[in-house]
Subunit: 451 residues, 2 copies
């Protein structure tokens, strides 16, 4: 049984002809099967760039959907629904006839046999391999913090956090008259990390907290506390000092306490300890660090502390002719400094590799080195404030927010999502409502009949 | 600790004044605290009707949201998102100052002490109690069928089914070349029960199956089978024969095999056995019977086989002065025949009880007996077909579908939901896309870093 399965992807007479192959004229071998692992921004961009190339593209992901991670925090704060920021990979590649999607999980790479091994026991052969496997949060070795301070990388992370935040208000309402201290813990939200994710998350929680208050009868809005902790001297360290200061002021206006120069030393249930003292909080969100996926291990090469694989100017790790590592998994240095793990970097890397492989497959000269074109950075703070530093232009406040919204909607893959996200946001803006405040886990736990 | 919690809801000096109570002039006791268990159509209607009454309304539900169950099958078939058919109960009752929402689970009723006991250890006192706890599926004593043939009552039921249906296609695509028989099982969908739920579900699965086919490369649409099984001689037995026949023809046009006079005798993994033979199918949906919630047990009175509590013309079970049972939990006979478990029945019962309690609280004469006003019945079959029998008018085909859509959108609670459902449907109609085809469970299972 198992060997028959593998035959599906093995070369030789057993292998079924792919529809795309019939149209393509037979080419002298070098490059025919391109395998891309991961359908994030990097992997998808590479796949799309290969649409017209004389190759077969197999894209492997253990999820069936591409996720627009930059807006994940909006799902966690009940502003958007999952379907608005996610789309089935098959659907995105529906019209690309040379692309095939495999929903499976990669467990290793056999670089000698040139094949990728998956959890279901397949061996998917490649002539060129693109690893675009992304990153997860990193707790700097304190993995025991993870259970108390979840991060935000997948839809289920976002669901879990949404549930935790919404249940915090339910719980506070329930105990406030008997145990005001416990209620205070439920009404306190700590976000660890003052980068764009942390800033956006803190602003969004502050707004959510404000907007749900009307629905409760007993708890007091004045007791809501949203605290943003940052180890360095200012939030958004990648931005200019001016924009950092503006972001801090905007956060303050929303009711977020920003504490810079504050190092977290311990996290336990209901409590964050810092070098400045202790904070009692039931909801703690981790936005302080990421860890690349184990692509380095698969290749048997050393990775950095954060699991990144260092790549050269053509996005290949040293010593590999036909393997590319891109997106959040890659460490690419330009003039000494590493490129950040952002969506624009991932997209541009994917496009570069796709173009390079297209050229190679056609027997043409490959493009020159990868060069990142930095359009700038954007971060939003709540409902109508943002800071943006785009093409050297610094924009703040409402204008920044409009720019931020436009940029994100523009980058959302798929017209449906763009349309609905836009409508949904307009709606939220006009009404201050959060439509997606559903707590769903409870009916998973017990399936019996009582409400 | 526990006794302090209870104090919250106990009468006497400890009990905090409710905001609404300050405005209301003190009344001579009989009816002050109304407790409603369950925030479905029945419970919410009762609560809303009590908005202007001199009472405190406490509505208890273990979910935080009201669910528009008639459209749940559209979440299961990836046409709507959960947020479009669910809304936080607190939000619905936000402006009703005499209403309080308690997210907790009822475990019993102490009719002597006149209080409701909850899972978290509370005792919520009542002067009048309204039980509107709904129903779950019933397998006629074959509970072991449940795991293979899930029904559809909650959001998590709908999630589970959506995932099962979408994964069926993924699995079929994976195995079709090695094991066509297994692929056939994955491409076969059986719906048990030919009432409105079963008919709507079968039509929706047929459409979903058709629309996802474009995204797959290997499986063949001609091998998709959607089979609807009905024990009686026709589908939609509550409709006229004419409309039944039309529904059957419409289902046939969508590619659904309708098998009437077919009794299911056994259900196991991957297999349904009927008195007419066996069907190999990985996805089996149960739409054949419901079982009321255990309200009868709480009251210590005998319920019917299906757990229904028989009520009199004022919707009270015999022997209870101040307890009402309404909605799917109640068995109410009019002229010998029982009212069906539908949303209109539940709403009208809720409104009646709310009005009755309002009058009693004001010391006025209560209204006459409950009388159900039957507006008719509606069922949709796929994208632009429906059968409707409304106010004696029989409507079929596209006109029926428009009527069906209008009626459902009209009844959706909350303007946001109405607007978005309408936009979403227009979008689906224009594009034949299913936007919500997300498989989410996989990232709950394993939290590590590989994609």
């Amino acid at each position: 049984m198992e060997h028959r399965r593998e035959a599906l992807y093995e070369k030789g007479p057993v292998r079924p002809a792919h529809p795309a192959e019939k149209k393509v004229k037979p080419m002298p071998p070098p490059l025919k099967d391109v395998v891309i692992v991961g359908a994030g921004f990097a992997g998808l961009s590479a796949a799309k760039e290969l649409a017209a190339a004389p190759v077969t593209v197999t894209i492997i992901d253990r999820q069936n959907h591409h996720l627009f991670q930059p807006l994940l925090y909006q799902v966690a704060t009940a502003a958007l629904t999952p379907a608005e920021i996610a789309m089935p990979i098959r659907h995105i590649l529906q019209r690309q006839r040379n692309a095939e999607v495999l929903m499976d999980r990669v467990v290793g790479v056999d670089t000698k046999a040139q094949s990728v091994t998956t959890e279901s026991g397949r061996a998917v052969p490649y002539d060129a391999l693109v690893l675009a496997t992304g990153a997860r949060h990193s707790y700097f070795g304190k993995d025991q913090w993870a259970q108390h301070a979840p991060g935000l990388k997948t839809l289920s992370d976002a669901f879990g956090l949404r549930e935790k935040i919404l249940m915090a208000f339910e719980n506070a309402e329930m105990v406030v008259e008997d145990d005001p201290e416990a209620a205070g813990r439920f009404q306190t939200f700590v976000v660890v990390g003052g980068g764009p994710t942390g800033v956006e998350m803190a602003g969004a929680i502050a707004e959510l907290a404000h907007s749900v208050m009307r629905d409760f009868r007993r708890i007091d809005e004045a007791r809501n506390r949203i605290i943003l902790l940052e180890g360095g001297p200012r939030v958004l360290p990648a931005f200019t000092e001016d924009l950092s200061a503006r972001a801090r002021r905007d956060l303050g206006d929303l009711g977020v306490e920003v504490r810079t120069d504050t190092m977290v030393t311990d996290i336990a249930a209901g409590r964050v300890t810092t070098d400045q003292g202790e904070i009692a909080a039931e909801t703690i969100v981790w936005a302080a660090g990421v860890q690349a996926s184990p692509a380095g291990e698969w290749l048997g090469i050393p990775a950095t502390n954060n699991g990144h694989v260092e790549v050269d100017a053509t996005l290949r790790p040293a010593g590999f002719e036909n393997i590319y590592v891109i997106g959040d998994t890659a460490l690419h240095r330009t003039g000494g400094s590493a490129l950040p793990g952002t969506a624009p970097v991932a997209k541009q890397m994917g496009t570069y590799v796709g173009r390079r492989l297209s050229k190679l497959a056609r027997g043409e000269a490959p493009p020159h080195e990868f060069r990142y074109s930095d359009a700038g950075a954007l971060a939003t703070i709540g409902r109508n404030r943002a800071v943006a530093d785009i093409f050297g232009l610094k924009v703040k406040g409402f204008a920044g927010w409009l720019l931020w919204g436009a940029a994100h909607i523009y980058f959302l893959i798929g017209f449906r999502n763009r349309l609905f996200v836009m409508l949904h946001w307009m709606w939220l803006y006009l009404t201050w409502q959060r439509g997606v405040r559903l707590i769903m886990h409870r009916d998973t736990e017990d399936e019996d009949k009582a409400p």
